[in-house]
């Protein structure tokens, strides 16, 4: 009996020469990276434009209102403000490529230094939030799909809906009122109580890790009591999104024929869901988690304001309110780059993990 095997076509079929592997790699890289680079360029342009639109005169901000005309002109020339716009943009792009975002008005230090100082606080918060959101969100989504239509499903969807619809800064406020002011279970605003502030040796900038490495368990507990509420609130938003998407993906898989096959073989419903269906959504869920991380940046802006968290979000908000052009532009660009990178990561994840796209 003829055995027609329809396998993946190999490139040495017949006498064709093998395509140059270097060219192939370049083509793939080009296909993926080029749009990203164009987007980043557009990002730079957009942030530059926003920066130039800020209503506050940077020269006045530095020199004050009473500067003489000569001092004003000198400063303006020093800042490059007398050159045509496209020239300024060119300087700006050059600066970006060497990671020079200029000086921040508020601190007088280079923006990049400021960002490096405040970023770890936000990363620590966001990472803990994602762990909460994923750890609870993925199982919740899977269980909701498994018992679709039941009260478990309705309950999970309802909780998710609240996470979607509630303003997270309000939840933060209410959380502080309840758990801090009334019950005293957790620490208040800020990363750490004042009395411990000088006990920390910032090695990584992540207080939880720093205190754990040093074995400073009392300080660790204090840090934890401060971070747990904002991280939970941020995580709640992530949980809502992740569980909703996971549920949606799982429902799609559970309607497929191979699920019936698994049950026909004699698999229990639980094993069918986790061993067979779940592996088919892992890639999609991973991309959702990566995207959630990006959304957390957005949530962090408001949460950090409520909890007086000395992180990136608060820095950006301050910069916007004060009109610190360099800081605003630098921060916006950074946010954009992170977002774009995460999207790129998602794309790559698909290509690597789904054997069908290879």
């Amino acid at each position: 009996m003829a055995d027609i095997v329809h396998s993946v076509p190999r490139s040495d079929a017949g006498n064709m020469a093998r395509p140059n592997p270097l060219l192939v790699v370049l083509k793939v890289v080009g296909k993926i990276l080029l749009p990203v680079l164009v987007t980043l360029f557009g990002l730079a342009a957009l942030t530059f434009f926003i920066g130039r639109m800020l209503p506050i005169d940077p020269v006045v901000a530095i020199l004050g209102d009473n500067a003489t005309q000569e001092a004003y002109d000198n400063m303006a020339r020093a800042l490059g403000l007398d050159k045509p716009l496209w020239y300024q943009f060119g300087i700006y792009v050059r600066g970006i490529l060497s990671l020079d975002f200029g000086q921040a008005l508020t601190t007088g230090k280079p923006v990049i230094e400021d960002i490096a100082r405040v970023f770890p606080a936000t990363i620590e918060l966001a990472t803990l939030a994602i762990i909460i959101g994923t750890g609870l969100g993925i199982p919740a989504g899977v269980i909701a799909a498994m018992y679709r239509g039941s009260w478990i499903d309705q309950g999970i969807r309802f909780v998710g809906l609240i996470g979607y619809s509630a303003p997270n800064f309000w939840l933060g406020l209410m959380g502080l009122v309840l758990f801090y002011a009334s019950l005293g279970w957790i620490g208040g605003p800020g990363r750490i109580d004042f009395i411990y502030e000088f006990d920390i040796e910032p090695i990584t900038g992540f207080y939880l890790i720093d205190t754990a490495i040093q074995g400073q368990w009392e300080v660790f507990r204090n840090v934890f009591s401060h971070i747990i509420l904002p991280a939970s609130i941020l995580g709640f938003g992530a949980l809502a999104y992740i569980s909703r998407m996971t549920r949606s993906f799982m429902i799609e898989q559970l309607g497929q024929e191979y699920i019936v096959t698994a049950r026909v073989k004699g698999l229990s419903w639980g094993r069918t869901v986790w061993v067979h269906a779940f592996r088919n959504v892992v890639v999609q869920v991973m991309t959702v988690v990566a995207l959630s991380y990006a959304f957390l940046l957005e949530g962090a802006v408001l949460t950090e304001t409520v909890f007086a968290w000395p992180g990136f979000g608060r820095y950006l908000t301050n910069a916007l309110l004060v009109g610190d052009m360099n800081a605003v532009v630098g921060c916006s660009l950074l946010v954009g780059i992170i977002f774009v990178s995460l999207n790129l990561l998602c794309d790559l994840l698909y290509r690597v993990f789904d054997p069908r796209t290879r």
Partner: protein, 288 residues
């Protein structure tokens, strides 16, 4: 012949929905022994549902009732989920229609077959792999080692269906339900797959419930034919007696099939008589 494997009496499957309830299967009775029984019917006749109800894997919202529904000694209706799991795969298996969709796309073929075996037999992975390879050979797959590591999308339809057969027969069930096993395949490949199925089923004395809409196919392949229409069995007779079918629906079906030995200018389209919905049915040529 010994006791029948499947003994169903007055099976009814009802769907409740917001728009009211609908009875998809309306009181059918049949037995299946160690023979090949074909169930023929058009879409909506309830034939697939009947197959799934034996494994209690009907869609959500379906309510199964019957006077009795037995597999050998076991009462399938009363059986709980745990008991059903010992029956599924082990004693009753089912081959689904389209291997493109019925195999897990992200699991290697070999692993899927091994899983089917290890669910019902305590075996070490190496042992199970050997069995799986042997099974792949028995469905005439050359290079079973290579196919073992492939993903379902890397094999053709015909091969996929053979893999499905291997997977479903590896635990050596007593009864196979084949739900349109060749409908998704190219016409040229159908015969191949059916021959393999026939070989395996005859060799082990497994019962076969062959569900299809293709009367020709069923007639040539099966020992007995059940004709279903609108949720009821219109006629139940041996395949060799099909030419003398009594029910007008069966006759209409036969007449609408093109035949090389009786060429006609126009094929007859079966006209559905509403009296068939609740009218008389035939068993082995006799009115019941």
């Amino acid at each position: 012949m010994d006791k029948p494997l499947i003994d169903v009496k007055d099976l009814r499957i009802r769907f409740e929905s917001a728009h009211g309830s609908h009875e998809a299967v309306r009181g059918i009775s049949f037995t299946i022994g160690r023979e090949k029984v074909g169930i023929v019917g058009e879409s909506g006749s309830g034939k697939s549902l009947t197959g799934r109800s034996l494994l209690k894997l009907t869609p959500k919202g379906a309510k199964i009732t019957a006077a009795h529904m037995r597999f050998r000694g076991t009462d399938l209706l009363a059986a709980g989920e745990k008991e059903m799991r010992t029956i599924r795969g082990n004693h009753i298996s089912m081959i689904l229609q389209d291997p493109k969709y019925s195999l897990n796309p992200l699991m290697r073929i070999g692993n899927q077959i091994v899983e089917a075996y290890r669910l019902h037999h305590k075996a070490r992975p190496a042992e199970a792999k050997t069995k799986a390879l042997a099974m792949l050979e028995s469905v005439h797959i050359r290079e079973p080692e290579r196919v073992f590591d492939l993903f379902p999308h890397e094999v053709s339809g015909g091969m996929g269906q053979r893999i499905m057969i291997a997977m479903m027969l590896i635990p050596e069930p007593d009864l196979i339900i084949a739900d349109e096993p060749t409908s998704a395949l190219d016409v040229t490949v159908r015969r191949q797959v059916l021959t393999i199925l026939d070989e395996l089923v005859s060799r082990r004395g497994t019962g076969l419930m062959f569900i299809s809409h293709d009367l020709n196919l069923v007639a040539s392949f099966c020992d007995r034919v059940l004709v279903m229409y609108a949720g009821r069995i219109m006629e139940d007779l041996p395949a060799r007696d099909l030419h003398s079918a009594r029910h007008p629906y069966t006759q209409a079906l036969l007449e609408s099939l093109p035949r090389l030995d009786h060429p006609v200018d126009e094929l007859k389209v079966p006209l559905r008589d509403p009296s068939w919905l609740n009218g008389s049915v035939y068993h082995n040529g006799a009115l019941i």
